[in-house]
């Protein structure tokens, strides 16, 4: 069946031949027709999980296979969502070791993008909680691989290009409550925000910042630090049911927003309001896990606020040594263009040894822009600034990077392509891999 698919950014939209196999035999048959790419829950922003000639939806592979209540080890099929794991295991005292900003990602997607969370500096990316992965390769065989194996190392962060991730074994984190002790630290400028990050921050740290700030308030941020709360920190009522959290009202964006709804004036107003609201909340508070980790998940289809043309995410990481001037240059370019972003997020990443994953020690910046010719021009400028400062790009967010920019930013591309030439390249390819030539 053919269907129009896109990533979460709704750009680009691709007419795809889609199959949704229900068992390994059907999956093997789908792979044999290659080129194909596996698709989880469609949360990568661009074209990493679309292939016009064959997109394989993995939603039927969504079973939990095993759980060890002593160690928190789970085995599950690749279509299981982090939301499923939380629903099943948080009431028993376990939470994902690493989670991105939405719980609606599949395990397969989390592995393929080697996603990171607000605790990367301390705990690493998704890779660090994986015991093994099982991959269906181009010849239809299913191979289990563990850390250190070539297949494992290329698959984690390999954007689904080594084969179809079928199953995984991973470890969860023991927690004693469903609450996060949050500390909100307002930072009037970038230097202050970075100082806060460089202190001992606890388990989680993330900053929202105002990318329309200019002059002295360039990089004005709200840094949010967090740690899993223990029962002693809860009220008596909360302590009685430490994993129960108040039900959040679920909202839905009912239609595409009109093009005029987002402009520099509404963005400025939003950012100013958000900053002032943050100042009022400064200091310590107790936040439930859902609001803390997944503030946007309650607004179904929030990606529609950018209207029909969709939006493009930009996420880069800059090495520690050049982070400060690099971030300033990026913010100045954005400010000068007048094209702000609601969701401008800054995080400190730790060191990570891996073959092709995104993270490196330094600072990562994520922004989104409604797609327009002007925005695409700005993104090219941001690409150039990133490359100049020795940074690289997060492929899970990308929808428009150029092949030469990728190569200029990341010397690991050569080895990745060499691995791909041994076979997977002819069977596994996404719109993204074809665009950026990997």
């Amino acid at each position: 069946m053919r269907r129009e698919l896109s990533g979460w950014g709704r750009f680009p939209r691709v007419d795809c031949a889609v199959t949704a196999p229900r068992d390994e035999a059907a999956l093997r048959a789908a792979i044999a027709t290659g080129p194909v790419i596996a698709r989880g829950n469609g949360r990568a922003y661009g074209d990493a999980a679309t292939q016009s000639r064959g997109t394989i939806e993995m939603r039927h592979f969504n079973r939990l296979l095993a759980f060890d209540p002593e160690t928190g080890q789970v085995a599950a099929e690749a279509g299981v969502l982090l939301a499923d794991l939380i629903e099943a295991f948080l009431p028993r005292g376990w939470f994902p070791w690493v989670t991105p900003g939405t719980k609606f990602v599949t395990l397969g997607g989390a592995i393929a993008a080697d996603v990171h969370g607000k605790n990367h500096r301390r705990d690493g990316a998704f890779r660090s909680c994986l015991d093994w992965v099982e991959v269906m390769q181009q010849d239809g065989s299913v191979v289990r691989a563990a850390p250190g194996d070539d297949l494992f190392e290329w698959t984690v962060g390999g954007m689904g290009l080594t084969g179809v991730i079928l199953r995984a074994g991973l470890r969860l984190r023991p927690v004693s409550t469903g609450w996060i002790r949050q500390q909100m630290v307002p930072a009037p400028d970038l230097a202050t925000a970075m100082e806060v990050f460089e202190r001992d921050t606890g388990t989680y740290a993330v900053a929202w910042f105002d990318c329309l700030g200019q002059g002295a308030s360039l990089g004005r941020s709200l840094v949010m630090l967090g740690d899993h709360a223990t029962p002693e920190g809860l009220t008596e009522a909360q302590r009685a049911a430490p994993f129960d959290i108040p039900r959040r009202r679920r909202l839905k964006v009912p239609m595409d927003a009109p093009a005029f709804a987002l402009n520099r004036f509404t963005l400025k107003a939003f950012n100013a309001l958000y900053w002032r609201a943050g100042l009022r909340k400064a200091g310590e508070s107790l936040v439930d896990w859902d609001s803390y980790f997944y503030p946007l998940d309650t607004i179904a289809e929030w990606n529609r606020i950018y209207g029909r043309p969709g939006f493009a995410q930009f996420q880069c990481v800059l090495p520690l040594a050049t982070a400060r001037p690099g971030l300033e240059a990026l913010l100045k370019a954005i400010s000068a263009s007048g094209q702000g972003s609601f969701l401008a997020v800054l995080k400190r990443l730790g060191a990570q040894e891996s073959r092709f994953s995104f993270p490196m020690e330094g600072y990562t910046l994520a922004l989104d822009f409604p797609v327009s010719p002007k925005a695409l021009q700005l993104l090219e400028r941001l690409d150039a600034i990133t490359v100049d400062h020795g940074g690289r790009f997060y492929l899970a967010k990308d929808s428009r990077l150029r092949s030469d920019t990728l190569r200029a930013s990341d010397p690991r591309v050569g080895a990745f392509v060499e691995m791909r030439e041994t076979g997977p390249r002819y069977r596994f390819a996404s719109g993204q891999s074809e665009r950026i030539g990997i």
Binding site: M1, A20, R22, N62, R63, L64, L65, A66, F67, D84, E87, A88, R92
Partner: protein, 245 residues
């Protein structure tokens, strides 16, 4: 509604599994019954792991009517709620030409389910509060050229459920008739279904759980179907026979 045990007849179907998940999420133990039950172990394990309930698989052949009594004899514990999600869409063109395959569709959608529920009802009668849920179809509301073989069997099943409800009222057994419109399942995969009329299996499972808890009689999962079928039933036969819908 206090927790108990749910039996799903047709436990491999997307609707049957979704119903099992909805009950398990509320703490019910579930029994999945189907042919080749061993191949359902992964589904049962998934339900058990997610919800911390007991989930078991049971061999059952809906079209082998003589085996039904023995199937219930082997079942332990006997469930408080039985959901029948057995059915087969058939292939209208083939079934028109091949009468034997038409009768197989009728057996899978009417005789088999009715026999399974007859045994269940007789065992439930006088045993306290229990519920029978039959998944019928809007296709049974009026025979149409495009699917009347399947539709006629569903019409029979709908009438059967209505009569069973009538018989069991006051005897501790409640009967729910479910008439899903389009549902995005394995049975309808590849069909071009209008989204406003199409429910997901999970929505259906949740609706069935609610219908059991609230002792509803007949549910259309998407309320718009009640209206659509009222209109279709109201068309005079003289006109209807010339239409192609």
């Amino acid at each position: 509604m206090s927790n108990g045990t749910l039996l799903v007849l047709g436990g491999r179907s997307d609707i049957g599994l979704a119903t099992a998940r909805a009950f398990a999420a509320a703490g019910w133990d579930v029994q999945l019954a189907a042919r080749d039950a061993a191949t359902l172990e992964a589904e049962a394990k998934d339900i058990a792991l997610r919800h911390g309930v007991a989930a078991t698989c049971h061999e059952m052949d809906a079209t082998d009517l003589d085996s039904h009594a023995a199937f219930y004899d082997r079942l332990s514990p006997f469930p408080q709620v039985v959901v029948c999600a057995v059915g087969a869409l058939g292939d209208q063109a083939r079934d028109e030409a091949d009468v034997a395959s038409a009768t197989a569709v009728m057996r899978a959608n009417f005789e088999g389910p009715a026999s399974l529920l007859a045994h269940a009802a007789n065992r439930m009668e006088g045993s306290g509060t229990s519920t029978i849920v039959g998944i019928s179809s809007v296709a049974g509301d009026r025979g149409r050229a495009s699917n009347y073989i399947y539709g006629s069997a569903k019409a029979g099943f709908t009438a059967y459920l209505s009569g069973l409800r009538n018989r069991m009222t006051g005897k501790g057994v409640h009967v729910v008739t479910v008439k899903p419109g389009f549902v995005a399942t394995r049975m309808t995969e590849g069909m071009d279904l209008p989204p406003v009329l199409t429910a997901t299996p999970d929505a259906l499972g949740q609706a069935i759980f609610t219908a059991v808890a609230k002792q509803r009689d007949v549910i259309y999962v998407k309320p718009v179907w009640r209206l659509v079928m009222a209109v279709i039933r109201a068309i005079p036969e003289a006109l209807f026979k010339k239409m192609s819908i």
